[in-house]
């Protein structure tokens, strides 16, 4: 259908539309008009992606000079592919309706592992290996060497692409990863480099967060993307953690040992080169004197996105003299390594700020702040000059140099914690230096600064006001949309007590209590008897799940559960869990029915959907608080309190509730879907917890469904399931939660729609 969104003609590739989609598009349009950032929460399964795509593509067509590019960031590879498929559908609809051929180029970008077509390289199993192998075939100096020695191996796909691929841009169309590979094979071009090259002129790019947020990758890939782009972060409820992870560094003894080996290799290589090709080193020296002017020029003329690891001041200066020659730099790194080694030889926990660390290092080994800041850049230049083939081997020393640059650049937002051993095993020495980022805004700042509109959206972003605060930006729109429903297809229940009236809670003091564990077991048993097909249960942590499963086994609860359904359990091993998941789906598919025991914050809770019969009930055992005894977390909480005035408890509850919401939200993936959401902890009934759930869940959490016993829960669930099992037709939805174009245009419907968006 064709929609009129405040004067903008939007093609929507379906015959019907959900009211909330219309409302979502309205808000989105206003955000784009204002050239500002937005935070939008809409339940999953209400067609968020297609709404985003339809509106932004329409906007792009209408105002090609205002918005030149859409950068759509998602989290996982399947999600990326999903977005591309929806886009393809939209494009097909466009060409059907308008009758003209599309001139929009849209493509997905992923790592080499997913795009490589070289027969040998692509057969490697791990991404790191693929990257390393690819680099050893395609690095510029290797190719230069090949001129003199043609027998060296090469990648013909890259060579072809380099020779021909850049002359003609990729023809317009929608390319997912497989399309790119097909195209690459047909032409004999490397799909990865083709995609990386093509994103510069593509209209729509779909890739993962890391390509924008991780400075190491963003600098390679996304640096030159146009300023007039709209950036969308989908499934962004965890975006702060992604930012923090990309800026944090951990150094263990092993890292240091490997760095030591790296440094020695460097030294030897330098000696060798000195004998054979001293001119090369001189050339490098000259370049370093000139400084990083090039990068500076580019940034000033606004071609590059700034890199948080490469702060502005560095660009204006020359590399300091003390590390300018290769030998001096290697000596410098050696000293730095020795210092770190000495720091790791401790017997008690040390926590200090970056300035303290710098002061200490200056006092002990006379290392200045300034050369430290240039470490990362200097190392990169050296590696380039020395023509080292396999960069992967130098990951340790690269890590150390990145650490050096970060610690000397940021005086705020980071903390250094040195732990001599793990808390659980105080006898085994395993010193770790955590350099941890506490401020997610550091990594995402360049994105907000560079691009005119950044949209953060997800099914669970409540409470909405916290994201702008922790990410330090000013959105023009903050809105939460509810799900309009013709039938209440979700049934949140808070179970607070067992049938014996013992409170059910995963509170630390009582979590090992026999009665609590037994009641949890009884709940699972009872639910497994009444819910058809699949049930997913989430625990607060992996160790907690292990303990509970063990005591359920001893009590014979699991064997009774097995009478009803098969049991599959998540393990820390991803491959094993994948298999368990597949078997779980198989068991749901063939009617056997199954239970998946899983962990909040685990991979399953983050990336796997349980549509329809794969998840008819989700049980959340306990409130998934993060492990609060961790020093890193404590430091972060302190920082949040001091910098953003967010109280510890507020943040912890917010974090726990967003994960709980993520877990239970896995079961509902659309309006025709239905599922029970069982919160098994009495603390969920409290207003401060309940109030932090997304609005679309809160709405259905009535007073009658709080603090139930197991029996009451079973009664309510039976009733709900029986109702839901009735046939559900399109006509039932029409006019309420599903609209035709005519219905959409009616006056009172527009009024109703205006209420859907809930401004924070």
């Amino acid at each position: 259908m064709k929609l009129n969104i405040e004067g903008l003609l939007v093609y929507f590739p379906y015959d019907y539309i959900y009211p909330e989609q219309y409302s979502y598009m309205l808000e989105l349009k206003r955000t784009l008009d204002a050239k500002g950032h937005g935070v939008l929460e809409m339940p999953s399964g209400t067609g968020k992606t297609i709404s985003l795509l339809s509106l932004i593509v329409a906007y792009q067509r209408e105002y090609p000079l205002e918005v030149t590019k859409l950068i759509y960031c998602s989290r996982t590879v399947p999600e990326i592919e999903k977005v591309v498929e929806e886009l393809r559908k939209l494009m097909e609809f466009y060409s059907k309706e308008t009758g003209e051929k599309n001139n929009i180029l849209a493509l997905a970008l992923s790592s080499r592992k997913n795009l490589c077509v070289h027969p040998e390289v692509s057969s490697l199993r791990f991404g790191k290996e693929v990257d390393g192998k690819c680099h050893s075939l395609t690095a510029s100096y290797i190719r230069a060497q090949r001129h003199s020695n043609p027998s060296l191996p090469s990648c013909r796909f890259y060579e072809e692409f380099d020779a021909m691929g850049k002359q003609v841009p990729l023809p317009a169309g929608v390319y997912n990863l497989d399309d790119l590979k097909d195209f690459g094979r047909r032409k004999g071009w490397c799909p990865y480099y083709l995609a990386r090259y093509s994103i510069l002129h593509a209209n729509i790019i779909v890739y993962s967060y890391h390509y924008l947020l991780d400075p190491k990758i963003a600098d390679l890939v996304s640096k030159e993307l146009s300023k007039k782009s709209v950036v969308v972060f989908d499934e962004a409820h965890n975006i702060d953690n992604v930012c923090i992870d990309s800026m944090s560094v951990n150094i263990t003894r092993r890292t240091l040992d490997r760095s030591q080996a790296n440094v020695e290799t460097l030294q030897n290589t330098i000696l060798k080169i000195k004998e054979t090709d001293a001119a090369k080193l001189k050339e490098e020296y000259r370049r370093l004197v000139e400084g990083l002017k090039e990068a500076n020029v580019a940034r000033e003329t606004d071609i590059y996105m700034s890199n948080p690891v490469l702060p502005d001041e560095i660009l204006q200066e020359a590399v300091p003299g003390s590390i300018r020659t290769a030998e001096h730099f290697v000596g410098f790194m050696k000293r730095f390594l020795e210092y770190l080694k000495a720091r790791l030889r401790i017997h008690h926990v040390v926590q200090e700020s970056a300035p303290q660390f710098l002061k200490d290092i200056f006092e002990k080994v006379c290392i200045d702040r300034k050369p430290l800041r240039f470490c990362a850049e200097r190392l990169r230049s050296l590696l380039r000059t020395l023509e080292i083939a396999d960069i992967a081997d130098f990951s340790a020393i690269t890590l150390i140099s990145n650490f050096a640059t970060l610690v000397s650049t940021y005086s705020k937002g980071f903390t250094i914690i040195i732990e001599p051993f793990e808390d659980r095993t105080p006898t085994i020495a395993n010193p770790v230096l955590h350099f941890s980022c506490m401020d997610p805004s550091i990594a995402i700042k360049p994105v907000f600064e560079r691009f005119q509109s950044v949209i953060i959206t997800s099914g669970t972003l409540s409470p909405l006001d916290i994201y702008p605060r922790i990410l330090d930006f000013r959105p023009v729109t903050v809105a939460s949309f509810t799900m309009t429903l013709a039938r209440t297809c979700l049934c949140p229940l808070v179970v607070g007590r067992g049938n014996d009236q013992v409170a059910m809670t995963s509170k630390f003091e009582t979590r090992e209590d026999f009665a609590v564990i037994r009641n949890y077991g009884n709940l699972l048993l009872e639910i497994s008897a009444i819910v058809p097909d699949g049930i997913v249960a989430f625990f607060t942590s992996y160790t907690y799940m292990e303990n509970i499963v063990a005591s359920w086994y001893e009590q014979g609860i699991l064997e009774n559960v097995q009478r009803n359904k098969l049991i599959f359990i998540e393990t820390p091993d991803a491959a094993e869990t994948s298999m368990a998941l597949e078997k779980y789906q198989e068991a749901c598919e063939n009617g056997r029915g199954a239970i998946l025991l899983s962990v909040a914050r685990g991979k399953v809770s983050e990336g796997i959907d349980f549509v329809h019969h794969f998840g008819r009930a989700v049980i959340m055992f306990g409130v998934p608080y993060v492990y609060t005894q961790s020093r890193i977390l404590k430091a972060r909480l302190e920082y949040l309190r001091d910098q953003f005035q967010i109280r510890e408890n507020d943040f912890l509850t917010f974090d726990a509730m967003r994960h709980a919401a993520q877990c239970v939200g896995r079961a509902i993936r659309g309006k025709t879907d239905y599922g029970l959401m069982i919160f098994a902890d009495k603390r969920y009934a409290r207003a401060d917890k309940r109030g932090k759930l997304p609005r679309w869940i809160q709405e259905h959490l009535t007073d009658g469904s709080l603090n139930l016993t197991i029996d009451e829960t079973v009664q309510l669930s039976k009733h709900f399931l029986r109702q839901m099992a009735q046939p559900f037709k399109q006509e039932d939805q029409l006019g309420l939660s599903l609209l035709t174009l005519e219905q959409l245009q009616s006056e009172d419907m527009l009024q109703k729609i205006a209420q859907i968006a809930h401004q924070a």
């Binding site: 399947p78 990309s246 955590h434 086994y553 994948s578 368990a580 068991a587 598919e589 659309g670 599903l738």
Partner: protein, 502 residues
């Protein structure tokens, strides 16, 4: 005594039958009773013929055992030795209890099968009546080569649907204390079957050990004692025969994990596009997962989890047929279609009136085995047809009758007359009327005689080549008699018909 060569399992003296004292013998294949003082059995039943045994209630004065045969007859045995009657009876009863089921299954099945065949096939039934009831040949001979033929398709038609396994079959063998410091496990053949199907390694061990090294009972006792059954125990004693099973299971699980998953939507390994490199990230707990600093308890806990996954997987795998179908479906829903499936919002589409139709399978085995490749067939393309038509046209155009070699008109007309109905060559048609001429009952009898003779001939021919003495004996001995008998029978019938006619 007829039973000299037989193994006598039990002899009970002073057993009365029909108010006659005598001795009861239980032998390997039959039960027999002979009156006192005589060296022959007046009662002798094969175990296979016995349907069941009944005993008199404990309080009764007469201590009796009743044998009920398949034919419905019954034999009462009265144990009359005052002091040991009860013991004697129980001994006989227990032995019978052990023996009967062994024969029962076989006998019943055969009998049922024969019965079914006779009921389903009236021709066979008639044949049976003609040959067996009239004692032309014995029942065994009659069935001898019939059952073997039928056994084949019997097994085909009886290809029952495989029953899945209850996931909780191990729960059903919950031990019960027997009151005196022991545990009793209830093990049924179903559960054993389930164990074997779920844990092929145990089956293998069973096959390796049971008849030679261990008795069945010992085997299962050890099974229940082993850590393998108690999944939370991990310390593996070396002499435990099941420690290897656990290892095998582990191996199987590993190989399954290594194979990876087919559905990209659940593959957690390839979910992340770009994982953080080593050393980055805020909570790198990677080094802490090493096994060294794990407590025993944690290890056993993770062992439980692993085994639960394995157990469920194996239970699922036991539904092999279903599995095969699922994998086929999974293949169909290969990468692309998977995504397609996921992005569809079915309710946003206008319903196109496409009603789905339930799958109505005529040949379910074809469905599960997939399409059969077409047999090579000779097709005539339209081009071929056009060509041949042209060819014929061409032939016709150039056709010249060869007038010198044609038949004279008179012979031609007489040939036509002879071939017309009523003509000389067509007179055989008149024999059709025999249907009407001969009365139905005669026809029927004739038919029966014919099939009976046919059956005898079949027996006759099946004796060739004569390569065993048994066949020779059969050929020269009673087959001859049988033919004679059949001939006599036919002759009798013939004369009877003649008599009636005249």
């Amino acid at each position: 005594m007829a039973a000299l060569s037989e193994e006598v399992l039990l002899v009970v003296k002073r057993v009365r039958q029909r108010k006659q004292d005598g001795t009861l013998y239980l032998m390997a294949e039959r039960i027999a009773w002979g009156p006192e003082g005589k060296d022959r059995f007046t009662v002798s039943h094969l175990y296979a013929d016995i349907r069941c045994q009944k005993i008199s209630p404990d309080g009764k004065a007469k201590i009796q055992l009743q044998l009920v045969l398949h034919t419905g007859e019954s034999t009462n045995l009265h144990f009359s030795n005052e002091s040991t009657a009860l013991k004697d009876r129980d001994a006989a009863k227990d032995l019978l209890q052990q023996l009967l089921p062994k024969f029962k299954k076989r006998a019943n099945k055969e009998l049922e099968e024969k019965n079914r065949m006779l009921q389903e096939d009236p021709v066979l039934f008639q044949l049976y009546k003609d040959l067996v009831v009239c004692q032309v040949i014995s029942a065994e001979e009659f069935w001898a080569n019939r059952l073997s033929i039928n056994n084949v398709d019997h097994s085909l038609s009886n290809n029952k649907q495989e029953v899945g396994i209850s996931a909780a079959f191990l729960a059903d063998i919950r031990p019960q204390t027997d009151g005196c410091n022991g545990l009793r496990y209830n093990l049924t053949s179903d559960i054993i079957e389930s164990i074997f199907r779920t844990y092929p390694a145990v089956k293998q061990k069973y096959g390796e050990n049971v008849p030679h090294n261990l008795t069945e009972k010992e085997f299962w006792t050890r099974f229940f004692q082993s850590h393998y059954f108690h999944r939370d125990r991990i310390n593996t004693g070396l002499q435990d025969i099941f420690s290897e099973c656990a290892k095998l299971d582990e191996k199987g699980l590993k190989s399954m994990v290594f194979q990876g998953v087919k559905n990209p939507m659940v593959d957690l390994l390839s979910l992340e596009d770009k994982s953080l490199e080593e050393g980055y990230g805020s909570n790198s707990t990677a080094p802490s997962t090493s096994n060294t600093n794990k407590t025993v308890k944690e290890n056993s806990n993770s062992a439980i989890i692993k085994r639960f996954n394995h157990h469920s997987t194996m239970v699922l795998a036991a539904l092999t047929l279903c599995m095969a179908l699922c994998t086929i479906i999974m293949c169909f829903l290969s990468k692309m279609s998977c995504h397609f499936y996921v992005i569809e919002y079915e309710d946003l589409h206008r319903e196109n009136g496409k009603k789905t139709v339930a799958l109505n399978l005529k040949k379910s085995d074809r469905y599960s085995h997939g399409p059969v490749p077409l047999l090579p067939q000779q097709y005539t393309t339209s081009q071929d047809i056009v060509n041949s038509v042209n060819c014929i046209k061409h032939e016709i155009a150039s056709y010249k009758p060869c007038l010198t070699q044609v038949m004279s008109s008179s012979t031609a007309s007489s040939a036509i007359a002879a071939l017309s109905p009523g003509g000389v060559l067509m007179q055989a048609l008149a024999q059709q009327a025999i249907n009407q001429m001969v009365p139905n009952d005669v026809q029927e009898e004739m038919k029966h005689l014919y099939t009976a003779a046919g059956e005898l001939l079949r027996h006759f021919w099946s004796c060739f080549p004569v390569n065993t003495p048994f066949l020779e004996e059969k050929l020269t001995g009673h087959l001859e008699d049988m033919f004679q008998m059949a001939y006599n029978k036919f002759h009798a019938w013939q004369t009877r018909r003649m008599m009636r006619k005249t």
